[in-house]
Symmetry: D2
Subunit: 234 residues, 4 copies
């Protein structure tokens, strides 16, 4: 029709060849969402397992393209082979289809992990998504390490913070002040001395995040120690 | 951490100001999906109403930014105000959040429209998404007209085709041949003379697609006739 | 050859249709360049006329695509029709060919305007270039107005500043301090009372910049007053 | 001023880190240009030496960023280090400044190589320019090999073609037909048997193109044989 010229306004950006592609999705306003559905603080095992289940299913559907996936909190990163030609490496396609499939899984599987908390149509989960391209093994390893370190830092902080609030009765303001400026070891010390908790005994999933392998296994491992192994062959 | 440099690989493309933004989502492999869930051919009222319900909820959540939404088949277009500053007009954010919210709605509302056909985790719906920017009223109107004309052309063809197959017992090959090269009026004539169906009496939703207004009304109107009205004030 | 795959790494970005295109070029380190060739401060009539001559020749070579060009100091903006299909609206082509042709002209015509100062191969002029797309008449007019106001502001400041230094013997520091925080009228007043110069009598080219019309005329006019006229018919 | 919002329409695209950057410039309509200035066919030693001189000066000005440059015919490629942060890796800056400086050199140095053919302002040389990013050593080597092979293929063809026309009196059509479908060795054989010319004795610059090293040396070498050496340390 005489209207078809409007197609010419579409831009079909692609990621250059021979670069690893990361698709990272992140829950939209999960601060609110986690409050609404009363997630346990700071880590809700059900919520994390749900994220993992979704990621696993997404990965399996794109198995031949994905090297691994890694998740923590309300986010998941999918790392694609550098030689993938998925959707001709079009950014819009890759980014949107991953996030859409993930979301579909999340809503579908919700009731399995939260059997007593049906989703409310006014408070549905949704996720943003982005594609990033990394030109070499070193930097894609550093990408994964970045997310892993982030998991550790956030989890240690959040664990101590919420223990101080929930166990020791500090206000959130007081807990914040107490932790302000402390390094890792000091936080662990506070956790131990004031709350009687040894950080080492915290669940591995909380401390290390979750890594989904191409076989669909979900691991909670020291990513940095295993970084070379994880990318062997790519 | 020393890994944070990996953030510098992110590109945050934006759409230039003062342009209308279209977010168009489209069902991934809905040919298969519609077969798997035994959608009526060529139009399944339940499927279309489900799409409309999702679009309405997405639109209402972004009410202040959206002018209208228009859908047909497995796709929906959301037209955003030219002066929107939603997510600083970042392409990745707009595109991914719309498609993710739509998908969330789709899975959530599925059972309302398909009460007897629970979703199978191996065959979940998902959608691609893209953002396109249009610099003036004329071309954004032409965009909508393009989708409207597409609806008409596809629906007329599909209606006659499936009538010939289902009612008159033609093979799909025979139906294809019969319709090949015919113009609109000839297709209507075939439909009438061979299947006894007056195209004018087909459901408005099938013939005209669905338009969601900012108030959340769902209309099946001649978009081209009303095109100026629809964009009045924008 | 088996190496041709390297072409796939090229990205050929285009500017969306129906938008005005500005190509703005700007002299690279002209602070240094103007010192090296002893340009008169703050305005060197020869340098500005050279810029104008180059711009005129560039415009005439792309006459059918360009609406007008506007220059000041070491920069020039070429405004292209919104319906131009020049180089399929490819950014790299438009940006590079304009700046390259301009540079070619600049070196070629140099000796006409600086007959006694041959160019030194170690100190050659060169320019950066960018393409910007503007979706409507209002904003392309505002673009031109932006450059025009910039010309006025810079020129008034520079005129008073260098008069204070050259005529009144202030140090550059003293001149800077004296002008700091003053508004337009106060600057004109200082210029008049301290240096005996009426800003109104300054050359029009300095005060208003240079506008090249499609006919190749070079005008020094109040762009803002004439703004509607300038874009009549586009 | 109230017009400054127009800056928001600028897009400042960058090339992702840790990728080699190629800036390739190519003469605009040099078919015409070379005719107008009566370049010898198919290779004009003066024209090629002029290109080399320009490239050398550009490279030296950006010495710390450039690995090498390679040229043939009316084009030159500058290969930048993968860790360069030149202009924050902005595409518009890199692309435009390289082409502008090259053009400046070309016009400046013209008379040295064409002392008897002054440039005509109506027929000035200019160049297009593009930036391409390559993620690893392998593909940047293949890029250079691509240009080298192209040089060989074009030069062999052009050499035989023009010999057949100029020496043996064939029309251009006849020469074209004679060469159509021939492989490299056959072309060399035709050249030898019909024109008495041993391709091996052709000037190295014609056969191999010109490579500019970081020291500013200009070499005519078998790029493919030396490819690893050329990128040693990068
Ligand atoms: N209580 C609880 N909250 C969680 C859990 N996992 C994630 N969250 C919450 C904590 C954070 O507020 C939020 C994730 O942080 P983000 O930086 O992604 O912020 P948020 O999603 O609120 O905003 P965004 O839309 O991503 O900008 O999700 C959990 O297991 N338990
Ligand atoms: N039976 C039936 N099929 C429908 C209905 N709505 C959409 N579909 C099917 C018919 C088409 O095969 C398909 C939509 O066409 P598309 O061009 O979007 O293709 P598809 O989604 O298969 O592939 P894609 O992933 O979008 O490239 O969805 C419906 O109401 N009933
Ligand atoms: N003396 C003198 N200087 C001029 C004239 N026209 C331009 N210039 C100088 C004054 C400024 O320092 C410079 C233009 O300012 P820019 O902001 O473009 O800075 P510049 O070119 O130095 O650096 P850039 O490479 O553009 O970032 O050129 C003139 O007519 N006379
Ligand atoms: N006679 C002669 N011609 C040359 C020489 N070097 C380059 N040329 C001409 C031959 C080709 O027609 C032209 C280069 O081919 P291109 O593919 O770059 O085409 P051209 O520059 O005409 O068009 P373009 O603007 O790049 O698309 O330059 C030379 O040394 N002698
Ligand atoms: O979302 P944040 O704050 O963790 O940081 P970000 O995701 O990099 O920011 P954005 O979502 O705006 O890209
Ligand atoms: O999906 P199609 O075939 O209707 O056409 P398209 O959506 O424009 O193609 P793509 O999804 O590949 O952008
Ligand atoms: O060059 P400036 O400082 O006038 O400002 P700009 O040109 O907008 O900056 P850049 O050249 O870095 O785009
Ligand atoms: O210019 P050509 O024909 O050698 O091929 P190209 O340079 O890749 O084409 P373009 O200049 O249009 O990018
Ligand atoms: Mg975020
Ligand atoms: Mg979040
Ligand atoms: Mg998060
Ligand atoms: Mg499609
Ligand atoms: Mg589809
Ligand atoms: Mg479709
Ligand atoms: Mg600048
Ligand atoms: Mg400058
Ligand atoms: Mg300037
Ligand atoms: Mg070319
Ligand atoms: Mg050329
Ligand atoms: Mg060429």
């Amino acid at each position: 029709s005489r209207f078809e010229y409007v197609r010419d306004f579409e831009q079909r950006d692609v990621l250059i060849p021979e670069t690893y592609i990361v698709v990272r999705i992140d829950g939209k306003k999960f601060h609110e969402f986690s409050n609404y559905y009363k997630f346990e603080k700071p880590n809700d095992m059900r919520a994390l397992k749900l994220m993992n289940a979704c990621a696993k299913n997404v990965l399996l559907q794109y198995r031949s393209e994905v090297i691994l996936a890694y998740g923590e909190s309300d986010e998941y990163s999918f790392i694609l082979r550098s030689d993938t030609t998925l959707y001709n490496r079009r950014i819009d396609k890759i980014s949107s289809l991953f996030v859409s499939l993930f979301t579909s899984q999340y809503v579908m599987l919700w009731s399995k992990f939260f059997p007593n908390d049906p989703l409310d149509v006014k408070h549905l989960p949704f996720f943003d998504s982005r594609c990033v391209s990394y030109p070499n093994l070193k930097c894609i390893k550093d990408y994964l390490s970045w997310r892993f370190v982030d998991t550790h830092i956030n989890n240690l902080y959040n664990t101590v913070f919420w223990q101080l609030v929930q166990k020791c009765g500090l206000t959130t303001r007081e807990a914040e002040n107490k932790l302000s400026g402390t390094v890792s070891s000091e936080k662990q010390e506070i956790l131990f001395s004031e709350c009687g908790i040894n950080y080492n005994n915290e669940p591995e999933m909380f401390k290390k995040g979750s890594l989904v392998t191409r076989k669909g296994e979900i691991l909670h491992i020291d990513v940095i120690k295993k970084i070379d192994e994880l990318f062997e062959g790519y």
